[in-house]
Each structure stands twice: as structure tokens, then as C-alpha cells.
């Protein structure tokens, strides 16, 4: 009987797999970084050969149905959601496969002709439920429509797409934790029991310096001829482990994730693990199935490939010369952001863009500044090495209190081998007392700036090209430019904060005043006042009188 059920089940699954037109792949890239860290990037891609415009998503065999419903209901062309904790350190770590800012970032392109503002709000609320994050705080007060910074990553059917269909918001104060990972794992085809997803144990992946989970949905070409469309969903997890926190430089899958890979997910057509061993003297155990050499933009990368079979897999890496420290060559472009000034009157937001390349680079700086930080456009100053730089283009929509944030996009040419600083001044303002959060003295966050550019070289570059969807597509993928979207730190700004114990004091004082005023008021209104002539009493007489009264009381 049992046998029958199992075989029926297998038959059913086989049927499902066959009826599903598309592919599911999972990949893991492990890359020891120059400094004391190791970077791991998981990518689960579900490609579904349907036309997203026509499909009703009523029957979605392997594609996560909740997401399908969202796509259909809110007319979504493209959707990118990332939840990140920690900061990606570009200067030391190079570029990640997917850039993400600390906190939550949501970027969506809507189909032309849809009610974008309404759908955006509904989308945020649906995602909030789907990922158990406070995405419902996304509304008009923190949403902008960037014009230059973001391009659609997928294919476009019409040329109608412009920035009125894009919405971007970030929630820098959102804390990402296990509660976001669990619902995210539910969207995977094999959940987290088998395949690479079995490595995602929340106990281990939150012990990292950086972790970011993401959902990226876009329409792609079904094949080379690109006659029909497919819908692609990429689910990514990026983690950066620190050797010092791990306790050793020799890592293994078990050490990083708590366990090895537990069999292959049966629904997956391709399940690979790549270990980057470029310039690293690493001995891998078990030996890899294949060695891949990739030349991309003049950068040679050596990768060891493991094909996940139906057996348990634990990769163990041993550094031959553990004391060897490789020299860190910073990436061509990185940036950071800080506040200038002190006190609570005036301040400035400074974004520093470092160009380490030998040639000038064109960049787009985008800033989404909350409405409670009123900035002054005339103070915008771009300098490099003491010279003023004139922005090529400027897009600016000033904030409106409690309605919309400040949107600023600056197109710049960053001179070679310099740090260019973009400074804009602002005023500190008081908020209404109810607008302060419960931890009022913590301060308020300003989200990270986004600096996008096409880099001429692919040094420290790992991202997948836009025409590919797998990590393996990034091998030997030389292009004319390499898109990076560098994120900066979030800022914490201390607005003038009232003393919140003050209302209590005010109530006490007001009550006292009312109580004290009541007596005379009552007297005046209820008593009849008669003028009486007053005899002048000398001080001595008064004292006498007082003494007499004392005497009297004594005798009594």
C-alpha cells in the first residue's frame, strides 16, 4: 500500500514537472574576499514560459502563486525587493552580485495604462504580508520616481515606459531578521528541505556581517530568437561571513551554514556550486567536478564548479598559506555618505564618490531625502580636488511637508583618481509631537544614496549581465560597460527632540494652577464684598496682639 502511494506521488510530481514549461535552477557562488571575509551568494531562478500579459496565474504549478497574484493584480512589469541588514563595504569587498541598501528597498515598474499610485500602495501592503516586513510604511511620503538611475532589467514590449511608471522607496530603519527569511523560503519550489535551500538555516545566516535577501521579478526572452516572453523570478540570498567571527579561515559548508547540502531538489534542472579560487591558494575537499576560467573585461577568474548530485555534499576549503594576505585593490567606483555640521540648526549631507579608475566616469547620484529634512538646492555644491564641477543634468522635486520626499538626481562626470564630494545643506526642523517615534531620541534615518554608473572595467565585478539570468551567464561575459548601483550608508540624524516627560510636567503644572485659581475665583463669585475702612496698626501693636493671643491659648 505504502509503495503504491509513494509511486503515485512520484508519478504525480513527474506529471507536474512535465506539465511545467520552464526551468528552475539554483546556484551558489562562494567567493573569498580580499580581506577577512567570505561572500556567499545563493540564486534560485524560476523561469516560467508563459506570457505574463496573458496568463491569469490561476494555475501556477511551481511558480509561487502569491507572487503571481500580486503581479497580475497590480499590473506589474518588473519588481525588485531587497531586505538587507549590514552594509556592503564596496571599498574592501568589491561589487556584489546584486546591490542592496541597508533596510528595505522596493523598486517596481508598472505596465503602461495602469493606475500606478494606487497599485503601488496596494503592492506595498501585499508585499508586507508576503514577507512579514513593515513594507506597509511605504506611501507617497517616501516614494520617488527616479528618471535616470534605474532602467528596466527585463525586456520591454512597448516604448511607452518612462519614469511615470516606476516607483522606488526605501525603508532604512527596517530591521531584517528570521521572520522575513521564513516566508521568503516558502516561495522556493522545494522549500528548504532539499537542495541548496537546505543551507539556509536562520541561526547561521544571521551571524554574518552582511545578509540580504531579495526577490527579483522580470519578463525575459524565452529563447535566443526572443519571439515570446517568459517570466523570471530570481530569489537571492547574499551573505558575508567573517573569518574572525567564524574563528578560522578554513571554511566548510557545515561551518558556514550548520550543515551540508542535503540531496538535490528534484524539481531543479540545474544545481551548481561555484567556488572562486582566483589568486587564492585553497585546497578544496572533495575535489571539484570542473574548473571554469572566466575572462571578463580583462579580469581573469578561476572558479571550481560542483554539480549537486543526489548525495550529501559538504565542501571543505583549506588555505594552504593561512598567513598570506593578498593586497586589496579597491574597485573603480565606491562612495560613502555622512552628515556635516553640529548642533541642531543647520547641517549638510555629504556624498563622497571615489573614482579609482584612470579615466573619468559618468555617474548618476540619486537621493531620496525624507520631507522632514528641508534641503536647499542652491547650496548644492559638487567639488573634486578643490575644483567645482558642474552637473550635466539635474532632476529635483522639492519635498512637500507630510506629502512627498525630496527627490534629487544629479548626473556628474567624476574626474579620474579623485574623491568627488556632493554637498547639500539642510535645516533642522521640529516635528509635530505625535510624529516622533517611541524611541524619539534614537534619531531619524536618511536612506542611502544610489550611485549608478557603467564601469569600463570589470574589476571586482560579479553581477550577472542583464541578458543572462544565471551566475554561469556571468562567466566570459565581456560587455562594453558594467552596470553598478553603489549604495551608501544610511544616516542617522537627530532632530530637535522635545523632552517627552514634559507633557507630564505640563499636566501637573496646569492642574496646580487650576486648583489654585479655583479658590479665589469661587470666593469672588460667591461672596459679597464690602469695603471696610482699615485702621493702621503699628508693628509693635501687632506683636503685642500676637503675644496676647499666644497667652490666651496657653491659659486655655
Amino acid at each position: 500500500m505504502k509503495c503504491l502511494i509513494v509511486s503515485l506521488g512520484i508519478l504525480f510530481i513527474c506529471h507536474l514537472v512535465h506539465s511545467y514549461e520552464g526551468t528552475i535552477t539554483e546556484e551558489l557562488l562562494i567567493k573569498p574576499l580580499y580581506s577577512e571575509q567570505v561572500y556567499t551568494h545563493f540564486q534560485f531562478s524560476t523561469k516560467w514560459d508563459i506570457d505574463p500579459d496573458k496568463e491569469t496565474f490561476r494555475h501556477s504549478p511551481l511558480f509561487p502563486r502569491p507572487l503571481g497574484e500580486i503581479v497580475q493584480r497590480f499590473d506589474i512589469q518588473e519588481l525588485h525587493v531587497t531586505l538587507t541588514s549590514g552594509l556592503w563595504r564596496y571599498e574592501k569587498w568589491g561589487y556584489p552580485v546584486k546591490d542592496a541598501a541597508t533596510g528595505v528597498e522596493v523598486l517596481a515598474w508598472f505596465k503602461p495604462g495602469s493606475d500606478v499610485d494606487k497599485n503601488w500602495k496596494l503592492l506595498a501592503n501585499s508585499l508586507s504580508g508576503l514577507l512579514c516586513a513593515s513594507l506597509n510604511f511605504i506611501d507617497n511620503t517616501n516614494t520617488i520616481k527616479p528618471e535616470f538611475s534605474f532602467r528596466p532589467r527585463g525586456i520591454l514590449e512597448s516604448n511607452l515606459l518612462n519614469n511615470s511608471y516606476v516607483r522606488y522607496a526605501n525603508l532604512p530603519h527596517e530591521i531584517v531578521c528570521t521572520e522575513n527569511l521564513t516566508p521568503w523560503k516558502k516561495l522556493l519550489p522545494c522549500d528548504s528541505r532539499t537542495g541548496l535551500a537546505s543551507l539556509l538555516n536562520s541561526g547561521h545566516i544571521h551571524n554574518t556581517r552582511y545578509h540580504s535577501i531579495g526577490l527579483h521579478l522580470r519578463p525575459v526572452c524565452r529563447d535566443k530568437s526572443c519571439e515570446s516572453m517568459s517570466l523570471e523570478l530570481q530569489q537571492t540570498v547574499s551573505l558575508v561571513y567573517d573569518y574572525l567571527i567564524l574563528g578560522t579561515k578554513n571554511w566548510s559548508l557545515r561551518k558556514l551554514f550548520g550543515q551540508g547540502i542535503n540531496r538535490k531538489c528534484v524539481l531543479v534542472s540545474k544545481s551548481d556550486v561555484y567556488v572562486d579560487t582566483t589568486n587564492q591558494d585553497i585546497e578544496l575537499e572533495p575535489p571539484p567536478d570542473e574548473t571554469v576560467t572566466s575572462v571578463r573585461g580583462g579580469q581573469v577568474t578561476t572558479l571550481q564548479k560542483y554539480i549537486v548530485s543526489n548525495q550529501f555534499l559538504n565542501i571543505y576549503a583549506k588555505f594552504q598559506n593561512a598567513d598570506l594576505v593578498s593586497l586589496n585593490l579597491p574597485p573603480p567606483l565606491h562612495a560613502n555618505q555622512y552628515l556635516s555640521g553640529y548642533g541642531q540648526e543647520r547641517g549638510g549631507i555629504v556624498t563622497k564618490i571615489y573614482n579609482n579608475h584612470w579615466k573619468q566616469i559618468d555617474v548618476v547620484l540619486m537621493q531620496n531625502i525624507p520631507w522632514f529634512i528641508p534641503i536647499y538646492l542652491h547650496t548644492l555644491k559638487v567639488t573634486a580636488d578643490g575644483r567645482d564641477i558642474k552637473p550635466i543634468q539635474l532632476r529635483y522635486i522639492p519635498a512637500r511637508q507630510r506629502e512627498r520626499p525630496t527627490y534629487l538626481e544629479v548626473l556628474l562626470t567624476v574626474p579620474a583618481r579623485t574623491a568627488t564630494s556632493v554637498v547639500i545643506d539642510f535645516d533642522y526642523v521640529f516635528l509635530k509631537w505625535q510624529e516622533y517615534p517611541p524611541d524619539a531620541n534614537f534619531g531619524f534615518h536618511i536612506g542611502s544614496a544610489v550611485i549608478s554608473s557603467y564601469l569600463p572595467v570589470a574589476r571586482n565585478y560579479t553581477a550577472v549581465p542583464w541578458d543572462g539570468s544565471l551566475i554561469s551567464d556571468s562567466f566570459n561575459a565581456s560587455r562594453s560597460g558594467y552596470l553598478v548601483e553603489v549604495r551608501t550608508e544610511n544616516l542617522i540624524i537627530t532632530l530637535p527632540t522635545p523632552d517627552f516627560s514634559m507633557p507630564y510636567n505640563v499636566i501637573c503644572l496646569a492642574c496646580t494652577v487650576v486648583a489654585l485659581a479655583f479658590g479665589p475665583l469661587h470666593n469672588i463669585t460667591t461672596r459679597k464684598l464690602i469695603l471696610k475702612s482699615k485702621r493702621k496698626v503699628l508693628l509693635i501693636e501687632r506683636i503685642k496682639k500676637f503675644l496676647f493671643s499666644l497667652k490666651k491659648t496657653k491659659t486655655e
Binding site: 552594509l87 554574518t208 567571527i245 552628515l339 534614537f442 534619531g443 469672588i524
Partner: protein
């Protein structure tokens, strides 16, 4: 409670009482203020310190710091390095160590142009490493700083604090619980280094233009929440002194002081404030005296407005900071000495508590006095003492005003002739004195900027003597004021000066209580005694008395007394010479401080106190004819007349 009573009723009575008794009231209030102040040190007037911020959770975790051997090794290596570099910071060694530990390491260059000689430039180099918090995203940071002192430095050595800082960095970088970046900062040239680093961190200049070129920083760690400055003079610490007084008398949050104090106690080191540990005595008088001395010692440091450690420069930027100064010798009998493990654990405890903080420090007091390390006096308790004293100024001004009104009323009725009161002249006099004040405050900058040919002379010749000459010249101002023959004008000027003095003193004591208090206790009684009078002897006495409270005279006297106590064995003449030199130095230092750090003591004294002093000085030179006094004498008679008619 007369909340709803008509304010105009019975006004005449109050005025009469005021006019009759105001001098007694003033005296009484002044004495009351002094007594109140003396009582502050009495244990019932102050309270035990306590933690107001619950998030700190001090000392709740088990200390894990065990890097004492590492610290000792760093110390040995550093001493070797220091022998190679006699008067500069061994930054290559420090950079290598920070890198080895795994911190983001940066250097910071700065240049100081001498305020009095533009050609003299001093450059310095700070080294800092940032521990990037695994649980944070570089939006908040804590600072652990230490001044680097080369072996040739006049100050006690701080090499052990560099060693313990490195060992702590090594320990901390392995831990995964940090939510705030920790910046390990080693500064050169004492306070200039820290000031330059902070200015570079915030991209601002605090002092005069073009004096301190703060350079730029490449690495930052977000908003700095707190800073601990280490000055450990030995590997073995027998006594840990906590220093808190900052620039312009700013103090760190009391919670931070309590935290440091508690962690020191936890590790069993004899912990002191102003070199005095906790003190208990059965005799209340003895206890009072001890508290009082300690409080005065704190107020003395606070009043100067000069930070007594590198922590003092952080306060301006809203960063709570203090210095832990460790001595090998302990004042306590039989106290034990702690080694690197103990000091490391003190630092660990403090930083883990600070790491727990969610909101920045806001709970506890920012304005307080400490009579001992475990007791505090809050602002609500100490401010009445100075308010009582300063209140006399307003009472006297009020009374004098009413008196003036009455005499003018009488004059109207009796039609006696007196010179007319020229309000415009009074205002002009008042403004002119202040204009001179502004001039005096700008003399040093002017001298240094435009008269470059003087650069061969010494600073005191270049700056102090012109300043002194100006001040002496200003003494002759009253001779040029013609309206000093008009009694009423002088009265008005006196009232104006008293109101100004009162307001200024109140403002100062809100910001820097100690300075305000000391100014008030000296200047208020003298100001009360200065009146326009016709009596020659009184007038001379007034002038003499008021001359004694000239800011420069006070400074000279204070420095002389200090010199006498520092060098008791020397003869009087030598003490006077030394004291005079020290006075010159102190004036020059206060000017330098105002130009480099933005210390406002010099500015306040020259822009406000000296003009105000001049106003009173003019008043004391008042001369008027006898016939006006007759009207004063008739006052009483007319007073009685009015009463009768009533």
C-alpha cells in the same frame, strides 16, 4: 494666592517698602546666596548618583577580556618604537597593528598655523582604526581615544593606554555582538589633534578662520554616541581618576560618569574624582568640608572653560565623553592594583554598556556639580544660590528706577532746575563702551594679521602689551564723559549697567555655572556699592573698590595666589615676577584657545565684562553739585507730605 487679583492695587505700598528696605534686601539676598552655596556640599542638599537610563545595563555581562599578555607585548613593542621616534607618532607601527587586528585603518593629517605668526606652521598626524560592527551598518559609532605622547613630552606617558587600546581592539574585533562601530583614535599634539579630527569628522571649523586646517577623513562611522579617552600612565593602575570638565564648562551626561565609575568599582580599582575617592565620616563638619573642597575643585576647573583632557572637545558635538586617567600610586591605604586585565575589563564593560544603548544619552543630567564621585547636585538645587545673588542687581536697579521717577515727579511740582536728562547720550555712552570692548577683543587678531613686521618680537610683547595699553587707556574714559555732572543721567547709566550685569551673569551661570558663580560672588557686592554720590571719600573708595574687580586685576590676583601656593619657598619678589609672567601667559592662552577651539571665555570677558565694568567705572566718577543733594534731602520731607495728604 493672588492669581486673579488686580496687579495695580497696592503698588504704591510695595514701592515704598522697596525703596525703604532695598539695600537690606540686597544684602540679605546676597548673604542668602552664599549660604545656600555653602550648604550645597551638605549631604542633605545633594543626592546619591543613580542610573537613569535603563538600557545601559551596566556590568550585567560576564567580562571576557583576557588579552593582557597581548597588551603587555604591545606595550613593550611600543616603547621600543618610541625610542626610534623621539618626538613624533610611530604611525607606521600603529597602522600595521591596526591592520593586523583587522580594522579599517586610516591616517589623518592636520596643520595648525600659529595664531600670532602666520609663518609658523605645525603639522600633526592622527591614526585611527574603525571596527566595523557586524550587527550594525555604520550609522552609529563609539570612540575610544588616547593622546599619544612621545618620550620627550612634558606630560606623563600614555603608552600603556595605547597598548590596552590595541589589545581591546583585538579582543573586540572577534566578537559578533557589536551594533555600533568602534573608532580607535590615537591623536598627536594633545588637544589640537582631537580638535582637528573632530572638525574633519564633521566638516566644520570651530575656531577662527585659517588657524586650524583640519584636513579630511577617508573613513567614518556614522553618528558618534559616546567617547572614552584613556590616559593610563602605568601598566599597573592603583587609582583611576575620572575627568569630565569640558570646553566652556560643558559636562558629559551624568549617566556616562556613573557608568565609568561603576565599572571601575566593579573591577576593584580605587576610583576617584578630582583625586578624591568616596569619603565617609561620622563628623558632619568633616564630611561637609571634604565635599565642599571637592566641589570647589571641580568648579575651579569648570570655570576656566578649558578642558582638562581630550574628552572635553567632544562635548560641543553632542558626544558624551570623559577621560579615565590611571595612576600607579594610589592615595588609598591598602588598595589593590589592577593590571591590564582589569583595565581591559573596565573598557569592555563600558563599551558593552554603550553598545546596549538604543537612544543617545538623554535621560540623566547634563548640568550638575559633583561633591564626590558618588553624589551629585542637580541644577535645580544649585541654581538658586546664584539667582539669589544676581537677583540683587535687579532689585537694586528697580528700586533706583522708582527713586528716580519719584524725584522727577517732585521736581515737576517744586520746579527746581536741574540739567536735563539726555537719554541719547546715555545710550551712546553705553554703546561706546561696548564698541571699545569689541575693539579690545579683536586686538590680538588684528595684531597678528596686519602687523607682520612685529613677528620678530615675542608673543607677549606683540599681544599682551598692546592689550594692556588699551585697557589702561580705557580707564581714562570717564574724563571724557561730560554728563557725569548730571546725577540723573549717571543714575540711569548705573541702572542700565546693573541690568546688563545681572542678565549676563544669569546667562553665564546657565551655561557654565561655576564661571557665573565666581563672577557673581566677586562683582555683585562691588556693583551694589557703586552709586553716584557726592561724598568725595565715598567716591574715591568706590573707584578703588571697583578698580579691584577689573577682570585683569582679578586674574592677576588669582594667578599670584596660585603661584604663591605652587612655590611657597620663594621670596615675595620672585613670586610677583613669576605671577606676572603667568598672568601674561594665561591671557595669551585664553586668546589662543578662543582662536583654535572656540573657547568663549576671552570673548565674553572682552565683549561684555570689560564694557560693563567701564559703565560702572564711569558711574563711580560721577561728580555733581551740592544743590542737587538738597533736593535729595527734601525727599524725605516731601515723602511725609505725601503720606499726610493720603
Amino acid at each position: 494666592m493672588g492669581l486673579l487679583t488686580d496687579p495695580t492695587t497696592g503698588q504704591g505700598k510695595f514701592i515704598k517698602i522697596l525703596l525703604k528696605y532695598y539695600s537690606y534686601a540686597c544684602m540679605l539676598l546676597y548673604i542668602g546666596g552664599v549660604i545656600w552655596f555653602l550648604a550645597l556640599a551638605y549631604p542633605t542638599m545633594n543626592a546619591n548618583t543613580y542610573f537613569s537610563e535603563n538600557a545601559l545595563l551596566p556590568g550585567l555581562v560576564k567580562s571576557q577580556f583576557r588579552e593582557d599578555r597581548e597588551a603587555a607585548r604591545y606595550h613593550e613593542e611600543l616603547l621600543d618604537e618610541m625610542n626610534k621616534y623621539h618626538d613624533s607618532i610611530p604611525y607606521s607601527w600603529l597602522l600595521a597593528k591596526f591592520n593586523q587586528i583587522g580594522l579599517d585603518t586610516y591616517t589623518h593629517n592636520f596643520t595648525l598655523t600659529s595664531p600670532f605668526n602666520r609663518k609658523d606652521k605645525f603639522s600633526g598626524k592622527n591614526v585611527y582604526g574603525i571596527l566595523r560592527a557586524p550587527r550594525g551598518s555604520s550609522s552609529e559609532a563609539l570612540v575610544l581615544s588616547t593622546p599619544f605622547r612621545p618620550s620627550t613630552s612634558a606630560h606623563p606617558p600614555t603608552a600603556p593606554s595605547v597598548a590596552i587600546m590595541l589589545a581591546f581592539a583585538k579582543f573586540a574585533n572577534r566578537e559578533k555582538y557589536w551594533a555600533k562601530d568602534i573608532i580607535f583614535l590615537i591623536t598627536e599634539h594633545e588637544q589640537v589633534g582631537v580638535q582637528a579630527w573632530l572638525e574633519a569628522y564633521y566638516g566644520v571649523s570651530c575656531g577662527s578662520e585659517n588657524i586650524l586646517d583640519h584636513g579630511d577623513l577617508r573613513g567614518r562611522g556614522g553618528a558618534i554616541q559616546a567617547a572614552i579617552n584613556l590616559e593610563l600612565h602605568s601598566e599597573r593602575i592603583g587609582q583611576m581618576d575620572i575627568k569630565i570638565e569640558g570646553l566652556n564648562g560643558q559636562l558629559p551626561n551624568l549617566d556616562l560618569f556613573n557608568l565609568a565609575s561603576k565599572m571601575c568599582t566593579k573591577e576593584g580599582v580605587y576610583q576617584t574624582f578630582k583625586n578624591k575617592g568616596p569619603f565617609y565620616s561620622r563628623k558632619p563638619s568633616k564630611e561637609w568640608l571634604n565635599y565642599f573642597r571637592n566641589m570647589l575643585s571641580m568648579m575651579g576647573t569648570q570655570a576656566t572653560g578649558i578642558p582638562n583632557g581630550n574628552h572635553g572637545l567632544f562635548h560641543r558635538f553632542g558626544i558624551q565623553a570623559l577621560t579615565l586617567e590611571g595612576f600607579e600610586q594610589s592615595r588609598a591605604k591598602g588598595s589593590n592594583k589592577i593590571w591590564f586585565v582589569g583595565t581591559g575589563r573596565i573598557i569592555e564593560g563600558i563599551f558593552r554598556s554603550l553598545n546596549n544603548l538604543l537612544e543617545r544619552f538623554h535621560q540623566s543630567f547634563f548640568f550638575y556639580l559633583l561633591p564626590s564621585s558618588d553624589r551629585y547636585i542637580s541644577i535645580s538645587i544649585y541654581i538658586p544660590s546664584v539667582c539669589l545673588m544676581i537677583g540683587t542687581m535687579f532689585i537694586k536697579a528697580c528700586a533706583r528706577w522708582f527713586k528716580l521717577q519719584e524725584t522727577s515727579c517732585k521736581e515737576m511740582s517744586t520746579e527746581t532746575h536741574s540739567p536735563p536728562v539726555r537719554i541719547d547720550k546715555i545710550i551712546t555712552t553705553f554703546l561706546v563702551t561696548h564698541f571699545f570692548g569689541v575693539l579690545v577683543s579683536n586686538i590680538p587678531q588684528f595684531m597678528s594679521r596686519y602687523i607682520t613686521s612685529l613677528s620678530v618680537y615675542e608673543t607677549n610683547v606683540k599681544v599682551f602689551y598692546p592689550l594692556l595699553a588699551c585697557l589702561v587707556q580705557l580707564l581714562f574714559i570717564p574724563l571724557f564723559i561730560r554728563m557725569r555732572h548730571c546725577r540723573k543721567s549717571m543714575e540711569l547709566l548705573n541702572i542700565l549697567a546693573m541690568l546688563e550685569l545681572g542678565t549676563v551673569l544669569i546667562c553665564i551661570s546657565m551655561n557654565n555655572f561655576s564661571l557665573g558663580f565666581f563672577c557673581a560672588i566677586i562683582s555683585v557686592p562691588a556693583a551694589l556699592l557703586v552709586n553716584p554720590s557726592s561724598c568725595r571719600i565715598c567716591s574715591y573708595f568706590q573707584r578703588f573698590l571697583w578698580f579691584l574687580v577689573h577682570p585683569l586685576i582679578i586674574l592677576t590676583v588669582a594667578v599670584m595666589i596660585n603661584t604663591y601656593f605652587l612655590f611657597p619657598e620663594e621670596r615675595m619678589k620672585e613670586i610677583v615676577i613669576r605671577g606676572w609672567d603667568a598672568t601674561q601667559q594665561s591671557v595669551i592662552f585664553s586668546i589662543v584657545d578662543s582662536m583654535v577651539y572656540g573657547n568663549w571665555l576671552y570673548g565674553v570677558v572682552t565683549n561684555i565684562f570689560i564694557p560693563n565694568w567701564l559703565c560702572f567705572w564711569i558711574v563711580s566718577f560721577c561728580v555733581f553739585k551740592e544743590d542737587e543733594i538738597d533736593t535729595e534731602k527734601t525727599e524725605d520731607i516731601t515723602d511725609k507730605d505725601i503720606k499726610k495728604t493720603n
